[in-house]
């Protein structure tokens, strides 16, 4: 079997003591970077690139270190989502919805272990998928033109309605805010600037990291100041940490579904991990018999997005390696690293440089196991964060976020913008409008608009172009169904939860 020979080659590269040490170091560093708001996988990897050079690492070793940091950061993002209600990075946003309520209910340890396992399942299966199918899957990107991308993003927005669990209008207001913010910057279709007020700082639009840190971390500080900490989970007494076997067993299918949807989202350039975790969450919620538990600390609401975003991380490596098209911000940085190391990704990379590709795959598998091992005992360490007095912890986290953002852009303007978003986040909180859709609007709205504009250029303004391919028709049907079906199905779905083994029978509904 060629596959095993390749894998053996990979492991022979990856299992040297030096490589293993790098993988472990990368995992630890990555987890910390992921956990810190304002430092996500992409800037984590970017910051560490000079380190790889100054150590004089060769191509394989640099890649091992960087991908370990990448996967580590994807794992780590959930930690602050769950403990502080501040997403460590943008794909971990969905994890705040159920993770934080669970922590507030005193089950922080359970939430962390469960999400750690879900991350492992997602990332591990996605790596296997990458290994078995990468050259075939690379072709998927060729099937997605502007019309298909537009339908895909539309699907995401159509299922948004279910996000505001108690008030859909508020979710709609929130997403419109996000879409409005996404309009700012240079319009790529015409080269003209929009809503920048002539300021160069806004030409490239609003960075979603700035928005996330502002809306979550800075807003949290404001709320904290106002309430003198009464409303904060911080300081909650921790129960003894155990492995929540029941929750893990119950969300087995959830993790698999999340992995599947996340992996596909990762394959598509531009869509990436955030879309993966979002769609995984929405799928889980829309197929659940009892939706009302979502948003209140539902374990499946943690398992789905975590499996989804980690699977997307693996999926995003496929177009990066085989097409040279980065599927996410982080893979864009990894791509740059590859180029600097004289490795040109492309359809022939798997045959031309097998030692690099298979070494990378083997070290991803190893990094994953290391991360799982690290993350379960480390839960104790991380959940101790809750015992740090909030008056110390919150300003500390915010300060680190400021440093993180500034180290990336080197621009004081972003810091001011971040405070502006903090005020916005505070106001939204007072009006009980959810902040997550704002971020989704910023993240996906720009892509959706650009896809539509490109489709219109290609078709000379003919709208039927949007429904011209089987893929886009399928996505449109799913989008319309995702929007309309919940309205009709609501009476049925309100029936009390029944735990039945055939719980995935109606999986395809939304």
């Amino acid at each position: 079997m060629e596959l095993f020979a390749n894998l053996a080659l990979g492991f022979s590269v990856a299992l040297s003591p030096e490589t293993l040490a790098l993988a472990v170091a990368g995992c630890i560093l990555g987890t910390m970077i992921g956990a810190l708001p304002g430092l996500g996988p992409s800037n984590g990897v970017a910051i560490l690139i000079p380190l790889a050079f100054s150590f004089g690492l060769d191509a394989t070793h640099s890649l091992v270190l960087m991908t370990a940091v990448y996967y580590g950061a994807m794992y780590g993002g959930r930690i602050s989502s769950i403990l502080l209600n501040i997403p460590g990075d943008e794909p971990a946003m969905m994890t705040t919805l159920d993770g934080y309520p669970m922590a507030k209910a005193g089950r922080a340890g359970d939430a962390l272990v469960l999400s750690g396992v879900a991350s492992f399942v997602g990332a591990f299966l996605a790596t296997i998928g990458l290994m078995l199918l990468a050259p075939i899957l690379a072709r998927v990107a060729f099937m997605f033109g502007p019309a298909e991308y537009f339908a895909l993003y539309l699907l995401a927005f159509c299922t948004l309605g279910g996000l505001g669990s108690n008030n859909q209008a508020k979710a709609a207001i929130s997403v419109c805010l996000g879409l409005g913010i996404a309009m700012i910057g240079v319009d790529k279709s015409t080269g003209l600037t929009r809503f920048t007020g002539g300021s160069l700082h806004l030409f490239d639009g609003v960075d979603f990291l700035v928005a996330i840190v502002g809306l979550f971390a800075v807003a949290e500080v404001f709320v904290f100041i106002e309430s003198h900490g009464r409303d904060s989970a911080i300081g909650v007494k921790l129960e003894k940490i155990r492995i929540p076997v029941k929750d893990i067993m119950n969300s087995g299918w959830t993790m698999l579904r999340g992995t599947g949807i996340g992996f596909v989202a990762g394959l598509l350039p531009g869509a990436g991990a955030s879309l993966g975790s979002f769609l995984a969450y929405m799928l889980e919620k829309s197929t659940a018999r009892d939706k009302s538990t979502f948003g209140t600390g539902e374990p499946r609401g943690i398992a789905a997005p975590e499996a989804g975003n980690n699977a997307a991380a693996g999926g995003a490596l496929v177009p990066m390696l085989t097409l040279g098209v980065p599927g996410s911000g982080t893979t864009a940085v990894l791509l740059a690293l590859l180029m600097t190391l004289n490795i040109t990704p492309g359809p022939l990379l798997f045959t031309e440089r097998p030692e690099v590709v298979w070494g990378l795959i083997a070290s991803l598998l190893i990094a994953n196991v290391v991360l799982l091992i690290l993350n379960v005992p480390l839960v104790r360490v991380f959940s101790r964060i809750l015992q740090v007095p909030a008056a110390v912890l919150l300003p500390g986290v915010t300060m680190i976020s400021f440093v993180g953002i500034y180290s990336l852009s080197g621009s004081y303007f972003d810091l001011l913008l971040m405070i502006g978003f903090g005020v916005l986040g505070y106001v939204l909180r007072k009006l009980s409008i959810p902040a997550v859709p704002v971020i989704l609007g910023i993240l996906l709205g720009g892509h959706m608009e650009v896809s539509l504009r490109r489709a219109m250029v290609l078709s000379d303004g003919d709208w039927t172009y949007l429904f011209a391919s089987p893929i886009s028709i399928g996505l449109w049907i799913a989008a319309v169904a995702g929007f309309i079906l919940p309205l009709f199905l609501r009476p049925y779905l309100r029936t009390p939860a029944r735990v039945t083994p055939d719980d995935d029978a109606d999986r395809d509904r939304g």
């Binding site: 992409s42 050079f53 060729f142 502007p146 350039p269 004289n342 180290s407 080197g410």
Partner: protein
């Protein structure tokens, strides 16, 4: 336990920040991953590796305004900083020409030199009916609504202009009818073209090397004076009677008021990098063609390009 956490956080940050205490700095005016980032990282690495520069050079990413943020930062705040170099390319000149840096002009900095260029190319999918540049251009002229180009720059950017220049040489003037979609980089543009969503891709050769090797695409023409070393089977546009030269040079600029001594020191260091075998390897690996112009020659070359792009942008209607 708290202390361990704090310590490890501190360690993580000192790793990220320690590099900033070094003396010299190369600003890549974009996020990591693009051409400017490559310029800074590769040139500074070789510069220190071969000893052309004594000490370390820290690479800083300053994304914003398509390079405009870094440009205004240098002009307004670092105007006499001798230890600063900034990555630049044809896109820098194009945007300066089109007044896209909020009124900043090229004479507010000092261009140092370029030591490589990414040749512009027109690429079609392997199953495309077009075998040469004239086939494609004639088809576009016959019915512009049936053909679209994908490129990595925004509308009005250099990738777009290249196509329009070529069409103009063929005597086609109704350039507003030419369909162009700006996507996220060369690789994305080629994906759209191989997928059959656009007729051709306009960009730089470095972004399509992998696809050329795998046989998924056919390069119809390169916009270079000579055929590109390593890709001798690709005809130039000029050979096919379309006289357009369009390369994306990779170079650097320095602040205007840095001392002449430091300017000289940087030009020497850049020359040494340009002559090094390490740089030649990096050029081959990244599909760059030789393009060596350092010092005052380069300054006047850039001024020439800016004049040309400005005249053309006005004529083509992509600039008021």
């Amino acid at each position: 336990m708290k202390h361990i956490l704090k310590l490890s956080f501190a360690a993580a940050f000192s790793v990220g920040l320690s590099a900033q205490s070094f003396a010299a700095e190369c600003i890549a005016p974009a996020n990591p991953g693009g051409g400017w980032d490559f310029t800074c990282r590769t040139i500074t690495k070789i510069m220190t590796d071969i000893g052309a520069y004594d000490g370390s050079i820290q690479v800083t990413n300053m994304a914003g305004g398509g390079g405009g943020l870094a440009f205004t930062h240098v002009v307004n705040e670092r105007n006499s900083d001798a230890d600063l170099i900034v990555a630049a390319s044809t896109a820098t000149a194009t945007r300066l020409a089109q007044n896209a840096y909020s009124g900043m002009t090229a004479d507010q900095v000092r261009f140092l030199g370029a030591i490589g260029a990414d040749p512009g190319v027109i690429v079609v999918a392997k199953d495309s009916p077009y075998q040469n540049l004239n086939d494609l251009l004639d088809a576009v002229i016959a019915d512009p609504s049936k053909h679209a180009f994908a490129g990595g720059s925004a509308a009005g950017g250099y990738d777009h202009l290249k196509v329009l220049m070529a069409l103009k040489r063929k005597g086609f003037t109704d350039i507003k009818k030419v369909k162009y979609i700006g996507v996220d980089g060369d690789a994305d543009a080629i994906t759209q073209t191989v997928g059959g969503f656009t007729s051709a891709m306009t960009g730089d050769i470095s972004g399509v090397v992998g696809f050329i090797k795998s046989g998924d695409v056919r390069v119809l023409a390169s916009f270079t004076e000579e055929r590109i070393p390593g890709f001798e089977n690709i005809p130039t546009a000029r050979e096919q009677g379309v006289d357009v030269i369009a390369v994306n040079w990779r170079g650097l600029y320095t602040p205007k008021n840095a001392s002449d001594a430091s300017y000289k020191q940087w030009t020497e260091a850049l020359r040494k990098v340009g002559a090094s075998s390490e740089w030649k390897e990096a050029m081959v690996a990244n599909g760059l063609a030789p393009f060596n112009m350092v010092g005052s020659d380069f300054q006047s070359y850039v001024d020439g390009v800016i004049g040309e792009v400005r005249a053309m942008s006005v004529e083509l209607g992509v600039m008021k």
